[in-house]
Symmetry: C2
Amino acid sequence: MKNNQFAQKSVNLNTVKQELAQIGFDPVEIENSKNVADAFLKLLKKALVNVNDKSSQIEKLNNLLATPDQQLGNYLVNNGEINQQVFYLVVLQLLQFQADVDFKINDPISAMKKINLAYIPKTAKWNKNDLLKAWYLLLTTHTKNGQTYLDHLANQGFFKGISKEHPLFFNGKAQAIFEPNDLIYETVYVETDTDSDKDGNADLIKVEITRPKTSFKLGTLYTASPYDQGTNDDWGEQMTHNVDEPLARKEPDDTTYSDIQYQKQPQKFSTRKTMGFSDHATEHHTPKPGYTLNDYFLMRGYAVVYSSEIGTKDSDGIQTCGSHAQTDATVSVIEWINHKRRAFTNRTDNIEIKADWSNGNVAMTGRSYLGTLANAAATTGVDGLKTIISEAAISSWYDYYRENGLVMAPGGFQGEDADVLAAETFSRSLNPGDNLKIRPFFDRYLASMKNLMDRTTGNYNEFWDERNYRNDISNIKADVLIVQGLNDWNVKPVNAAKLWQGISHLPINKKIILHQGQHIYINAFRSFDFNDIVNMWISHELYDVDNDVMEQIPNMIVQDNVKPETWTKQKSWLDNSGKKYYLNQHGLTDTSETGQLTYHDQLDQAEFKQYRISPQKWAKDLLDQNGPLKANQLLFKTPNLTEDQIISGFPKLHLRIATSKNVGLLSARLVDYGEANRLNVTPTTLVPKGLLLGHKWYTDDLREFTLNKHPTPSKMISFGHINLQNRHSSYQNDELVPHQFYDIDLTFQPTFYHLPAGRKLGLVLYGTDFQMTQRGNQKIDYTIDLENSYLQVPHK
Amino acid sequence: MKNNQFAQKSVNLNTVKQELAQIGFDPVEIENSKNVADAFLKLLKKALVNVNDKSSQIEKLNNLLATPDQQLGNYLVNNGEINQQVFYLVVLQLLQFQADVDFKINDPISAMKKINLAYIPKTAKWNKNDLLKAWYLLLTTHTKNGQTYLDHLANQGFFKGISKEHPLFFNGKAQAIFEPNDLIYETVYVETDTDSDKDGNADLIKVEITRPKTSFKLGTLYTASPYDQGTNDDWGEQMTHNVDEPLARKEPDDTTYSDIQYQKQPQKFSTRKTMGFSDHATEHHTPKPGYTLNDYFLMRGYAVVYSSEIGTKDSDGIQTCGSHAQTDATVSVIEWINHKRRAFTNRTDNIEIKADWSNGNVAMTGRSYLGTLANAAATTGVDGLKTIISEAAISSWYDYYRENGLVMAPGGFQGEDADVLAAETFSRSLNPGDNLKIRPFFDRYLASMKNLMDRTTGNYNEFWDERNYRNDISNIKADVLIVQGLNDWNVKPVNAAKLWQGISHLPINKKIILHQGQHIYINAFRSFDFNDIVNMWISHELYDVDNDVMEQIPNMIVQDNVKPETWTKQKSWLDNSGKKYYLNQHGLTDTSETGQLTYHDQLDQAEFKQYRISPQKWAKDLLDQNGPLKANQLLFKTPNLTEDQIISGFPKLHLRIATSKNVGLLSARLVDYGEANRLNVTPTTLVPKGLLLGHKWYTDDLREFTLNKHPTPSKMISFGHINLQNRHSSYQNDELVPHQFYDIDLTFQPTFYHLPAGRKLGLVLYGTDFQMTQRGNQKIDYTIDLENSYLQVPHK
């Protein structure tokens, strides 16, 4: 077990005393204790939240050891000396570490170091100030279950009875002083600035607010989730496209960006006339668990707002999958929270209701489509949006459903496309009465969408340009915290990378966290204090807490992919120069050689069928140089590495390539070769419901990335795909003459990969990607001119 | 989707009116409505828990259809006719079924039938009484998410404001009228009738009570869970026994049962002197989710009590794994709840605290070890214990860790034994201060336990006889509800079967539910109303509700293993006569033939190593007649069955067998052969957190057994194992002369198995069972005399 806490802040003795006093550990009382043991006893008793008679307190303390052979209660009653050794033996026990397993009772400090827990260095006998500093540090240190000790106390009811008339910040982070019974659940209807269902009226959207009852004005976490009101999975499945389609020849053209640039059209629609005001909501929503990070903040004095936006259950409009109209609706909610837009108590009476509980400050949260709408909202520069936590979020929908002139799957979802997702999330269809009215219009919209998104060419066009939020990146005023999985082949790393590049010169605060998982949340990991980091960030953004978060939290944190539970500060990601590897008969080397190598795309029907059913098996076979796919790939490896490498940034491939037909695609995978127990990309649940999110509140499963118990021979690091007719851009079609060689550049998905000494770096070239591309199984052969082909690997 | 509701009770019109009135659907108001449409509108408005203004109510109702082309709100306002067609179109929508997916909007009744939802048969125009009857039925019918519609309303806050001075029963079941904020969390220390740590004082054990605040006296659900205070997994792992041990020769003897019968020894110890009384607890415990069935009942007016018993964190005593001392401690808690024993506020002051909130009635709940302690408590006949819900519970520990003179694994845990489990659950070790005092004593106890449990012979002895609760089965006074998975190879079905047989003639109520899962809980399944059944049962047992539960719920419910979501009433399990199959060269047939067949036990080292690492692979290969293990087994199959069979009860095998050594074991598996998509034995999560357990309360994951998407060639139905030296009993050693034939009878684990036409019944004989037995890899050959060998399969 290794602890990584980035949001644990050092403070001076004055602050220690002041903040301890604020939560009921009175420094004056400590000062007046007869000695340090007595002072420690006072602190410990107060931390025994669940017992309040003297005998029980001593009983409970006697469950702990002060020294290898003395029980803590007796030791303190008998005025034992307090020093580093005693204090940290106690600390390890309080933090739920296990004797003999996690630490040795005669050497606590070695365990503190090994587990990476902060401690006071002074070894000699402690005085009361040492004790106070150490106690403060303990309160901000994580238990074995990935929460601060103060959170652990709060979950037991430590803050019961404390004033709820202001949020409580400790060590720069809001504390869980609220209880579920304090929560109010309200539903309102925000009038948007769009009329996506073309009924002549501005679309109303349903917004669900959950907030603690208090007199102070609340900051808001807002999650725009098109899934939140339910999904129509069967419809989505029905609409899923057949991907066993041949690659189509595209007529060469000279399309330029201005030809396909999206132009926003002005809309005409009426807005409602306010018929009165209400100081309370007349509709409520059913309490239920949400995104656990939001639930975590509800107990800490924040409002949480969900909206599924246009086209969803109980809202107007239609699902458009990333259009400007959807962004407009998303932003409307922020404007209402920021007191600049109207909401109504229901859809009929036009009775206005104000967000009078709000301080006007909004942070957007959520992963995937949810984070995508946070990206979308940020690029409008809307007032009130102080920050977005952009988790595994799309920054351009072309990078989600297409790549370099090819139709591309979001990992695991072959055949999905913008229209499928629109239908699936069009939850108005789940209300049959509402569906009756809107469905004909939406069916027409879907038909036109299918045409506009263009699965035939796979090219970037006006449809995708409207859905490229990066076009408006310079508008961003909100601070940005990006979270991206380096093994996320659903929302692929390029989305985060290009957002990160795009905001690099903007006058905003920005941070990025790269983890080794796939398409997951990272807010319940034992080894990494993500919740604390976000807490520190949000407390500053929404309540202006002066907590030095921008200095405290590194701009870039990266999880190591070799050593478990290792998260480190990094300087840069995307700006490394590349090491050039030439492709030749013997692998990847420093020097080029002449020659040609050929591989085929087509498989016999039995093989093709097998790989269609199990793309996982295909992916495994592809990486095997002598496997059943050896004629369908070219595989190049370096010799065993003599020292560790960090590949950081966009790997690039330059090829001189010819195809036997007038169509063609190039796929390439960068591979880590060498038998090893690698980190699982899906987290392991350590303790189901092991993480309490507050007192009497919801829970989360405690998780961690663990090493695979079985060694594997290889692992894909990154990949890339390109249509050979899109050598210049994803919107212009190039000529492709059979057997003629062309130079082509392919950029891989960006990575941050630790390749240890003893492994080999590998490159696999192939055509059809059973996991990602369409699968025409065409008879196409590809030939590479080795002398003019090389791989460029960005090294740190 | 198919619904199976056993606890939905038919009632007469008077009861309908009376119970509806009780929950706020006033029949007088319905009677006074201007017409049936208006009456329906009144009921629906009241069910719209989250909206309370008129416009919103009509809006929400217009989200639903009354007919394929009319919205419900408008239809009712315009006094549309109410009939079966209209009502059940609305019902399907209210129950969250999806149009086009689950039902057709022009034919609701077909869907009601197909999904197996109860409905009123009258097709002609309805009157107000029809409406009331149908509304009552709706409230008791399950939604698509496996809860009654009334539960669905309760989760939204329907019962807010209702009196909490008495529990509310509707359709014979307690309703979720409480909220989390009503709960009180108390910890007390019960003085037991045992001194397992031999310190001269009766052991005190910690007991955690959670109960709704109310003035009525509560019934109690009590879960005895040795895991609840934490486990010491590392220690358990260290202590796990090596199972790669040869089978040991046992000297023949003539041991009789009386030689090894356990005799309870009288204990001497002091009890405490009460020094005062407290009317409130001075220690509390941290609110957290528990067994979700218990959490479900907390909102319905029941107290929930957990105790980890002796040897656990904050309690006295030691872990003994099933001893009488553990049973005594378990029972002590019931006695305290039943006002017949003392508890104290802490471990020091001897201040007594009464269970003055209790009505004295207790039901024990929990699965596995938890259910085991329920079995243990029931066999004492303790007063106050009204019922046990015995889920996957051990009835004799010999049937958990041993079988017929062999050391046997609980499925999946090779090398575990009573001492391992005792160490693992000895959570006093998690308190280092407490561990300091008690550990030396417990280490000595563990050493003696290792000796007494006897892994050398695997025989039944005094140690196991003490741990055979069935010895005291005739003491049982509590009603018994047994739940057992037919694919549970951890706590194997024999435990439930022998308990079921043992109680068959006792003057108690008893019911049994057999499901097709492994070692799991079944209280969150969409297709089966387990929670309702238990609710009806418990409401009767603990509050004397006159709900006809004994007639309403079948004595035996069995899940079908072929058709998903199919649970049926059955008459009997274990009393079927057998069909005899002779073993011969050509398989299993009706007539015997002469001949001998031989198989080997030993594997070469490489194979042995491979199967040690992956017993799953071994199990797969074993069932393959032409696979790598063909020399290590004999495999007999019937021809394809021409009609469906139900195998119900204990299959039995009679063999005439010889071994090449003076030691030997026989293992046998009964197998279902034939390519098919079989039911998964581990449930699929349909909706994470999809089941709300009350208003503002915890959730459960909605689950279901689903068909495997991939067909499999075979599936084990049952198995059995026997030491060839235990032909007469598990405590007496028989002679075994090499190459001499002996007659031996082996009883398989009982089953209830639907073997469809077209499949084959198979029998596999072998020696070492890599999943279950020790693995000596000895050079032993076994020979079967076919003429005198047959299988007896109990058929329904």
